[in-house]
Symmetry: C2
């Protein structure tokens, strides 16, 4: 029942970006994440669980679903699981998933209307990125573009804090945002950047039905080049003493205003 | 120049809630935080810095200001500082501050208009609380009430992620929210809770000039008792597939809408 050392090493390696990128795989753990994965069209390469998990109600349901999808499932020990689980609450279930690739062109040319795409330029904190994926998921954004210098999508903390978001909407990694903006504009998109010194208060923006909204780095915001290419520079007015807003909070505020305008 | 073992132990103890509560003190580190502290009316009990810090431009300025406030300053080694610094970026400066106490009554009876107070019921993640303090600070909230079952305000992660917010607005800890709501209502406040199943979309709420807005726990939201006592249960409409929004993001969205209504 115990896994071989080589196998444990292989799984533990997926905790590192280098190995995730090389293998095109990533890890998830916990009941909630497994449920999301099973309902999604992500390929579950294999799953590992403890005896205790198999005996729980949630466990039985999940294992039946995994069997239905013909996923290779292996029973293992608490100890093995703890050796590669990232959180203390892995809850006895753990899986390797295949990363999914989407193309920028596919997103840009989708026929949805409204079509709102959100792009992240150099977001560096995994918790922030995950939380913003969750927010995009809540507000029904059609897709996400991650700039080349952003934190990796399949970082375990991003996956976890997206609360299932990575399973719900297409996310393209490693995007050249400058050339993508040019393409988007040619296809009829209006491009918005959110920035402290933007000239238009978010509340006065009438978002175009095809909108690409860009959020920047936690410390220095959106790059000057992107700011210049954008059609509208959106700001959130300050009423108190704080120097800045958390980028995830700014993202929520701007996205919440999207539908107010579409709805009217 | 090196500190005694007993002294280091004392300082390191302030990393624990128990000792912070007993001593009514807390720790800050880094240039940015020290600048905020120096500009605030918090009492800086003592500061520790490295030789390198004293030789830096920011260091010289800060040490002059600390001298102006007659703060006891002690030079120490990188090694000592590393032994009690919480982050790797302590930047050679570290201080012990006295905690500040505000009273609920004082906040409730303030003559400001509008007077917006924000209350947190059982928020458990320090990063979330800190980020919400920062958001309250951005939107010019008059004060914050922390319910009895919320994470401690002077937790280093709360202090850090508030980005100076804890220095800018009055925050009362350990508040009995149920009795406070009753008092607030008698003083003319309207009470709002934010909750997934609220009956009023945040965008349709006309906030009263004296408003108390309550946000709940990350997993289970605001308690039923508080929900029942509130005048308005505010929701943020969902357009996509996510099960919930991060509480910090919800807080930002609701607070951003405050001023839209006051401004008009």
């Amino acid at each position: 029942m115990a896994l071989t050392r080589a196998r444990i090493k292989e799984l533990r390696n997926l905790g590192q970006k280098k190995h995730r990128v090389e293998n095109g795989r990533f890890l998830i753990e916990g009941v909630r994440m497994m449920q999301e994965a099973v309902e999604s069209d992500f390929v579950i390469v294999e799953a590992f669980h403890t005896q205790q998990f198999a005996e729980s109600v949630a466990g039985r349901t999940l294992l039946t679903k995994l069997a239905g999808k013909a996923v290779h499932v292996q029973k293992t020990t608490e100890r093995d699981l703890a050796s590669f689980a990232e959180t203390v609450t892995a809850q006895g279930i753990f899986a390797v998933l295949r990363q999914k690739r989407f193309s920028v062109d596919h997103l840009l040319k989708a026929k949805d209307s409204p079509s709102v795409l959100v792009a992240f330029d150099a977001v560096s904190d995994p918790g922030n990125l995950g939380s913003m994926v969750r927010t995009c998921d809540w507000f029904g954004v059609q897709g996400i573009l991650l700039g080349r210098n952003s934190v990796e999508l399949y970082n375990p903390k991003v996956v976890r804090s997206s609360m299932g978001g990575i399973f719900h909407l297409p996310i393209v990694e490693d995007v050249d945002l400058l050339s993508t903006i040019s393409n988007a504009k040619q296809l009829g998109y209006k491009v918005y950047v959110t920035n402290v010194d933007g000239e238009t208060h978010y509340d006065r923006v009438r978002f175009w039905q095809k909108a690409m909204i860009i959020f920047g780095n936690e410390a220095w915001g959106v790059s000057d080049q992107l700011k210049q290419l954008a059609d509208v520079r959106v700001a959130i007015r300050r009423y108190g003493a704080a120097e800045s807003l958390n980028v995830g909070v700014a993202c929520g505020i701007v996205l919440s205003s999207l539908h107010r305008l579409f709805d009217e």
